[in-house]
């Protein structure tokens, strides 16, 4: 257990993400450092997390799309104590629209703010594909 220093950058070890036959293309791309989202070719809307059937219009015509992985923090919270030290969870509203749940890394807790621009990066996991996390981006 360690206490939070509001100036010290935080990171968090992330467990290996479960990969399914439906989401394997996402994780294969992640291993190459590419961030994919799904968009519906019928209604045109993007969604998160990626799935085969569009959660907006129920069409089966969804396609993978590479995203820059940029957006703004919608909400966050810093858990002050955990077995691996303090860490930050939050939602990022991607520029494409959907909100993504994530951890924020390489940022001091005191520098996190709603509206802060962030960008995706990939963090290695133990025995699984790398997981998308977000860090401040100017």
């Amino acid at each position: 257990m360690s206490e939070t220093d509001p100036r010290a950058p935080i990171t968090r070890p992330i467990p290996p993400p479960p990969v399914s036959v439906e989401t394997r293309p996402f994780w294969d791309a992640a291993a190459e450092g590419r961030f994919l989202i799904k968009r519906c070719a019928d209604c045109g809307k993007a969604h998160w997390y990626p799935r085969a059937i569009c959660p907006h219009c129920f069409s089966a015509n969804t396609v993978w799309e590479e995203s820059p992985g940029e957006g703004v923090i919608y909400a966050y919270s810093v858990l002050r104590r955990s077995p691996t030290g303090p860490f930050a969870v939050g939602y990022v509203t991607l520029d494409e629209g959907p909100a993504v749940l994530t951890n924020f890394v390489d940022v001091a807790p005191g520098d996190l703010a709603i509206g802060l621009r962030v960008k995706v990066r990939f963090q290695p996991t133990e025995g699984g594909p790398p997981a998308p996390v977000f860090a401040p981006h100017t």
């Binding site: 467990p15 907006h56 810093v78 860490f87 991607l94 025995g127």
Partner: protein, 396 residues
């Protein structure tokens, strides 16, 4: 068809234990069932419907029906909506009764999180390598360490951002709960706390502090829901179910995420419409209080005050019995009394029943309490959750 008037809560029991090292979880379920049946004046042979949720050990209620020797069950329901399950069960029991499927429904909840069997915290890691076929969101959600407190904290942070809600206003919710808990001999925390003490407690997950969080307790509770015919045959005050609403709130592909409201915006109006009453008519409300922010959002969503004005509403002392407009959680709630196995739904119904019977502690009993509401949220307020609302009336 409506369930208004089709069912009555005739038995209610809250287990007195808050720490149960020497009682098994099935035993706690059965002790709660015994307590509720004795309260109603019924026997286990009268039970023809059993309702339980994910806390019941074994397979979808079968293990518990077997363990308790409930030989006349003809209706089984293991609806799982987290902590709101037992409020939802009351509505489902009324539906089954109205359809003629059963007459005496037993609902139980029990568990022992204090004994280490069910640890709070990040969920177990998925094994790397092999393909998974579990929850669809798992790879995009569970891996980030959202447990209860930091999820609800995100809701609080966004509510503060949009509406100017303050930590001091949230603290008033804990103050109200603790003011009630001092009179409950079984309450886990009986000390009355001040706003200053809440604000001085350690930060757990920004912006929620330790005293913004509910207690973690062992124990449980049970309810008996009966048909009108059975209710009239019993020598207990009749608590009539006049409205029930339920609704999931989910992420909907991540578009238009809004963490400042809950599924109560749908479950509440559904219940009020069925009951043909309005929020202003409610004399007492049991409001799910896993965290202070949970209460604030739900009282707004249920229509007890306008969206964004919850902070001001609670800081005026409106939740305190004998002081404010909306006496809530007069047993001390999950914040102070009891949150058995991290699921606070059944204790919400139990205290509402006490109030309607006039059996709450005299220091917190609402005078002439003839109309009450019980509301719960299960799952994660910051993600997928399910709201359940019931409205109960004392029958003269």
């Amino acid at each position: 068809m409506s369930i208004n008037g089709k069912a009555y809560i005739m038995g209610a029991f809250e287990h007195p234990l808050r720490d149960a090292p020497d009682t098994s979880t099935p035993q706690l379920h059965a002790e709660c069932a015994r307590g509720a049946l004795a309260d109603a004046g019924l026997s286990h042979l009268d039970v023809d419907a059993y309702f339980c949720s994910g806390d019941a050990p074994g397979f979808g209620g079968l293990s518990m029906v077997d363990y308790m020797g409930l030989r006349n069950v003809r209706h089984l329901d293991s609806t799982e909506t987290g902590g709101s399950s037992y409020i939802v069960h009351v509505g489902h029991a009324a539906q089954a009764i109205a359809a003629g499927k059963c007459q005496v429904a037993l609902i139980t909840l029990a568990g022992r999180p204090r004994q280490g069997g069910h640890r709070l915290g990040p969920r177990p890691q998925a094994a790397g390598g092999a393909l998974s076929d579990g929850a669809p969101e798992a790879g995009f959600d569970d891996i980030y360490g959202v447990m209860a407190v930091n999820g609800y904290a995100m809701c609080a942070m966004r509510h503060m951002y949009e509406y100017g809600t303050t930590a001091e206003q949230l603290a008033w919710i804990k103050v109200a709960a603790s003011t009630h808990a001092q009179w409950n001999e079984h309450a886990f925390l009986r000390k009355v706390v001040t706003v200053e003490e809440v604000l001085a407690s350690r930060m757990v997950a920004d912006p929620l502090r330790l005293l913004d969080c509910c207690v973690v307790t062992d124990g449980g509770g049970a309810l008996i829901v009966t048909s009108p015919e059975v209710a009239r045959s019993l020598n207990r005050p009749r608590v009539k179910l006049i409205g029930a609403g339920e609704a999931p709130k989910t992420m909907l592909g991540g578009l238009d995420l809004d963490l400042t409201y809950s599924g109560a915006v749908w479950s509440g109006p559904g219940a009020f419409e069925e009951a043909r009453v309005t929020p202003a008519d409610i004399k007492y409300a049991s409001i799910y209080d896993s965290f202070t922010i949970t209460v604030l959002m739900q009282i707004e969503d249920l229509g007890f005050c306008k969206k964004g004005e919850g902070g001001r509403f609670v800081a005026e002392g409106n939740l305190i019995s004998g002081v404010g407009k909306l006496p809530f959680n007069t047993d001390g709630g999950g914040l102070c009394n009891n949150h058995p196995t991290n699921r606070g739904g059944i204790t919400k119904v139990i205290e509402a029943v006490r109030q309607l019977r006039g059996e709450a502690h005299p220091k917190v009993q609402v005078p002439n309490c003839d109309l009450a509401l019980a509301h719960g949220t299960g799952g994660l307020l910051s993600g997928r959750h399910a709201a359940g609302t019931i409205i109960l009336e004392r029958e003269a």
